[in-house]
């Protein structure tokens, strides 16, 4: 090959040199990336291996080692599921309505605050904003007192089925109310990007405020619904604080409370606790998978 410059090196040599440089860079990059993956996945991995080991296996092997056939068992999953079963059902019963309601009311409120014109909007918006920053701990006592005064179980005494579940209803209402501000803010930022001319066109086409919401705004906010549903579901599902304060009867224990029950008083059975943690986390993962595509759209603002 002919030399292309004064140094006497051929083009081929220089390409090879360049490639070597590039390769070193890449190798370092991938090494770092693999290291990070390992770092983040190791607790999950340890949890997963532990959940498939017997108590003896857990004591005799390192948590990161996979279970050998001798120590392998699915018993921890069966035991954990047996304890969590009731909590899972109770959680689904209050988390689903609380999530949907707070997203829906948040969407209503945001629509009213962006696309309808009336006096005093700013004042209302400020109250919503303040709601986002209200710490859970600060409302615990007033919240307990409020529900004692309301006495939901007493009010529902005519229908024993509901009265027995009063704790869960209280949780539903509390979480809905607590979720509305953040949902409103999320929807509001999204609705501000929706064209005003489109809303005006619908008005001139004869649609009233509710018609515009139902036929124009609601269908266009599906990506934002995915965002709020995932966010709210995870928040409400993982909450333990409100449940501790509001749920009194054992039959109404939610999943986070049941998970807490797995903690033995004498011996720590880590394998059962790990299996329980995975079971309790499963629904939030399913929600991510189901709404993931819409979620990505909502976050990037594409529609």
């Amino acid at each position: 090959m002919a030399t292309a410059d004064g140094t006497g090196r051929s083009v081929g040599d220089r390409i090879a040199e360049h490639r070597a440089e590039l390769d070193t860079q890449r190798v370092v990059l991938y090494a770092v990336l693999v290291g990070l993956v390992g770092f983040y996945l190791s607790p999950l991995w340890a949890g997963l291996t532990t959940a498939f080991k017997s108590q003896a296996g857990f004591i005799n092997t390192s948590p990161l080692e996979p279970p050998t056939p001798a120590w392998f068992t699915v018993e921890p999953w069966e035991l954990a599921f047996a304890t969590l079963q009731g909590g899972l059902v109770n959680s689904v019963m209050f988390v689903v309505p609380a999530t949907i309601l707070s997203a829906l009311f948040g969407s209503f409120a945001a629509y009213g605050l962006t696309k309808l014109s009336w006096r005093g909007q700013v004042g209302i918006l400020v109250i919503f904003l303040a709601g986002v920053f209200l710490p859970y701990q600060s409302v615990l006592v007033p919240l307990r007192q409020f529900w004692s005064i309301v006495d939901l179980a007493g009010l529902l005494a005519f229908a024993p089925v509901l009265a027995n579940r009063a704790d869960l209803l209280e949780l539903t209402i509390t979480h809905t109310a607590y979720g509305i501000p953040i949902c409103t803010i999320l929807f509001r930022s999204y609705y501000k990007t929706l064209g005003d001319e489109m809303i005006e066109a619908a008005k001139i086409d004869g649609a009233n405020a509710f018609g515009i919401y139902k036929r124009i705004v609601l269908p266009l906010s599906l990506p934002m619904f995915a965002v709020t549903l995932i966010y709210q579901f995870t928040q409400v599902w993982n909450d333990l604080l409100f449940a501790l304060v509001l749920v009194t009867s054992r039959s109404n224990y939610v999943v986070t409370q049941s998970l807490n029950e797995l903690q033995g008083s004498m011996a720590q059975e880590y394998n059962i606790q790990m299996a329980g943690a995975f079971i309790a986390a499963l629904p939030t993962i399913i929600i991510y998978i189901v709404f993931g595509r819409q979620f990505a759209k909502g976050i990037t603002g594409a529609s």
Binding site: G195, E197, E200, K203, I204, D205, N208, G211, L220
Partner: protein, 379 residues
């Protein structure tokens, strides 16, 4: 189809008066273009007619019924927006049917046939099942028009509907819109800042400036008989040339450049007692000569020649003035003109306009043969 009346309509935003005491009578089936520079209140006026803005003062009536307090939903109007404002999650068919579903109780089949008729008229019948995102700008424009037509409203409102199209498409759509409006015979109010659209499309033009109505007249009347200096300058491209002059002994004089323009008694009479004046002449009315012949001829220097093919657009100035004070002259495309050379121009007295410098009011407009015929006609 209906008459539309604006009576002393005023819109105030806090302290700012956006539309000031505007009165226009729009006949049944008329195509009225509201035109003016940006911020002149033309869009606000349209939005008040639509019911998207409240009216601070005055009244708006459709077919004699005052609609001041009627919400947009009840005004029996349709509007085409500059951004088209299509519903992105609906197909073209659903977009066009939306208005019928919300404002009428028609049978489903009847709605569909109306949508299909309108789509055929606009040649978008093959796009009915597509969504707006899959359409080109011109096609979206047609869908927006279709959405308005399907409703068969009393009044069409259009807010700069062509400004998002490229130049070629725009001139085609201009003709088509005009044809469509004539066919449908629906009273139309069309807002634009483009004076070409105003001239070519309208039955009458309403010119707004600073929220005030300047003139309502046929396009040629606005062109040849402007009521004031603003209208004279706004209508016409390139715009009319203006010279600040004073009246001395029956002549228009600009002492700085030794400009003297004798006036005949007819013009002098219409000017009256006012002495501080503005002389106006359209570029195409100026004639280019080789030598001075009359008192209305003046020596000039040609600064720039812009050949357009059919005509030459000249930037000229009087000798001994700076390049800031050039004015426009349009001469025939076959006429050879060299930049930098001296020529003589004639400002024919029959074509001059004279304005009051202080108020801007037109004191004298050009002479026209067959005046009534010309001014009543549509281009």
């Amino acid at each position: 189809m209906a008459e539309l009346t604006l009576g002393n309509v005023t819109k105030r935003f806090d302290d700012v008066v956006a539309v000031d005491d505007v009165s226009i009578e729009i006949d049944d089936g008329e195509f009225l273009v509201l035109v003016g520079p940006s911020g002149c209140g033309k869009s606000t006026t349209l939005r008040m007619i639509a019911g998207l803005e409240t009216i601070s003062d005055g009244r708006i009536a459709i077919d004699g019924d005052v609609v001041n307090d009627a919400p947009a939903q009840q005004r029996d109007i349709a509007m085409v927006f500059q951004s088209y404002a299509l519903y992105p999650h609906m197909t073209v068919r659903e977009n066009m049917r939306f208005g019928l579903e919300e404002s009428t109780t028609l049978e489903k089949a009847e709605m569909d046939s109306r949508v299909e008729d309108a789509a055929e008229t606009l040649e978008i019948d093959d796009l009915l099942e597509r969504k707006p995102g899959e359409l080109s700008g011109g096609q979206q424009q047609r869908v927006a028009l279709g959405r308005a037509i399907v409703r068969d409203p009393a009044v069409f409102l259009m807010d700069e509907p062509l400004s998002n199209l490229d130049a070629k498409l725009r001139s085609g759509m201009r003709t088509e819109l005009q044809r469509l409006q004539e066919e449908l015979g629906v009273t139309t109010v069309y807002v634009t800042h483009d004076q070409t659209e105003a001239m070519t499309m309208s039955d009458r033009i309403a010119i707004l400036d600073g929220g005030e109505l300047q003139q309502v007249a046929t396009p040629l009347e606005c062109y040849h008989r402007p009521t004031n200096r603003f209208v004279a300058g706004f209508i016409g491209e390139p715009s009319m040339n203006f010279f600040d002059v004073s009246l001395e002994d029956g002549r228009l004089v600009d002492s700085d450049i030794e400009f003297e323009y004798p006036l005949s008694s007819v013009v002098r009479d219409s000017v009256g007692e006012t002495t501080e004046l503005v002389l106006g002449i359209r570029p195409e009315d100026v004639e280019l000569l080789d030598a001075r012949e009359t008192a209305h001829d003046f020596p000039v220097v040609v600064d720039v020649v812009e050949p357009m093919g059919n005509e030459n657009n000249l930037l000229v100035r009087f000798p001994d003035t700076d390049t800031e004070s050039t004015f426009n002259v349009i001469v025939d495309g076959m006429c050879h003109v060299e930049a930098g050379k001296r020529y003589v121009i004639r400002i024919p007295e029959s074509a001059i306009h004279v304005f009051d410098r202080e108020t801007g009011a037109a004191l004298h407009n050009r002479e026209i043969e067959d005046e009534t015929e010309l001014l009543a006609s549509r281009v």
